[in-house]
Symmetry: C2
Subunit: 226 residues, 2 copies
């Protein structure tokens, strides 16, 4: 396992691919995971085409999850728990699983500006209940626009609320500084993922009302050092 590598399961999707591109630009080795290895390989080739010399590869999700200390789960909400269950035997204590899932009501055929209730409170807390012992779950990146991530010429302009157990949280916060325009904000305990996830539904509604397909983001004002 390369200590600098970042695995992105669902890295074939818009937001996961965007993160892969940005981390590759920052010079970090990236492993894209997908249910089908060939789709992961295709996505890796896209990244290599945009970022010549990128240390990028594409693997089936389980194989990808073994390759990095931080594993980002970037699949639609309804696939989050099944994907984690599928890779459970491949994860090892000390790894960090990053939850990006948002329980949008699209999961039950309703709209993307609304949420379904999750018994545990949030997607991130649902995943925390399924993660193997010693694998910490951290919530991050939900509110970052896929379009802005993929548009490498511009800054992303969004704060990332990072929630979860403190040592793991700090390691995920450090990832944000790899992407120009992203700023990590200490989101405290994992339960605050409930709010970060809800904000995504709000932003989807704002994008529609204000006709901003490239994606509206959030910033916190008054943080020290700003």
């Amino acid at each position: 396992m390369d200590e600098n590598a970042i695995a992105i399961l669902g890295g074939t999707g818009d937001q996961g691919l965007g993160l892969a591109l940005r981390f590759a630009v920052a010079g970090r080795p990236v492993v894209i995971g997908s249910r089908k290895a060939e789709r992961a390989v295709e996505a890796a080739e896209k990244v290599r085409a945009s970022v010549p010399g990128a240390a990028i590869e594409g693997l089936e999700n389980g194989a990808a999850a073994e390759r990095a200390p931080i594993v980002i789960l970037s699949v639609p909400f309804e696939h989050c728990a099944p994907t984690l269950k599928g890779i459970q035997p491949r994860l090892r204590a000390g790894q960090i699983l990053v939850s990006m899932g948002v329980p949008l009501a699209t999961a039950i055929g309703d709209g993307a500006t609304r949420l379904v209730g999750v018994w545990q409170g949030s997607c991130a807390e649902l995943l925390a209940g399924l993660a193997p012992d010693g694998v910490e779950v951290v919530s991050a990146f939900q509110n970052v626009s896929a379009h802005r991530l993929q548009h490498l010429g511009a800054e992303v302009e969004c704060d990332v609320l990072v929630s979860g157990p403190a040592p793991a949280r700090r390691r995920v916060m450090a990832l944000c500084s790899l992407v120009p325009g992203l700023r990590a904000v200490d989101g405290g305990p994992l339960a605050n993922a409930r709010i970060a996830e809800a904000v995504t539904a709000l932003l989807i509604g704002l994008n529609a009302r204000y006709k901003v397909p490239e994606g509206i983001g959030i910033r916190f004002t008054g943080l020290p050092g700003t």
Copy 2:
């Protein structure tokens, strides 16, 4: 009723008083309401001391509610429904009631960084179920720092997510432009108050973690015209 007046029930509290000060500075007549008329009068005197010549008065809540087309309810969450029930007979069709309440878990003796679940989904929706026919409820101002509102020398630096029925929503959005640094953001249907209210709990946690007693705010990035 003065069409330009703004009533603020609970205008003796930190956030309500802050709004009263800012609206008075903007030249709008302000009526502060409180359960006890004498406390409302005291708060009005504070405003007059800071804003010489302000058109400000203090009245008991029910009397205050009769005096303005827009009535802002700025009392702690657990007093929101009782206060509305108390003024129900004084409200008239066409008035707008602005919900600022946040169901912080302090209402049940738990912490201010957490929320209690409200059956209707949010404080604003709870109030919408209690408002007389023809009185529209709009959600706004929850995330605005009381400290920054009261500190008249500086801009407030916060976006205000305004949610509710469209015509009433637009009238409340127009109020935001009276306060330097506040920007109204079209928050769509009233149910989005759930998210605005949750963000307040998040901001309270951020204020503690980042040691910013004057209050962290939010901005949306990528809105048209910014």
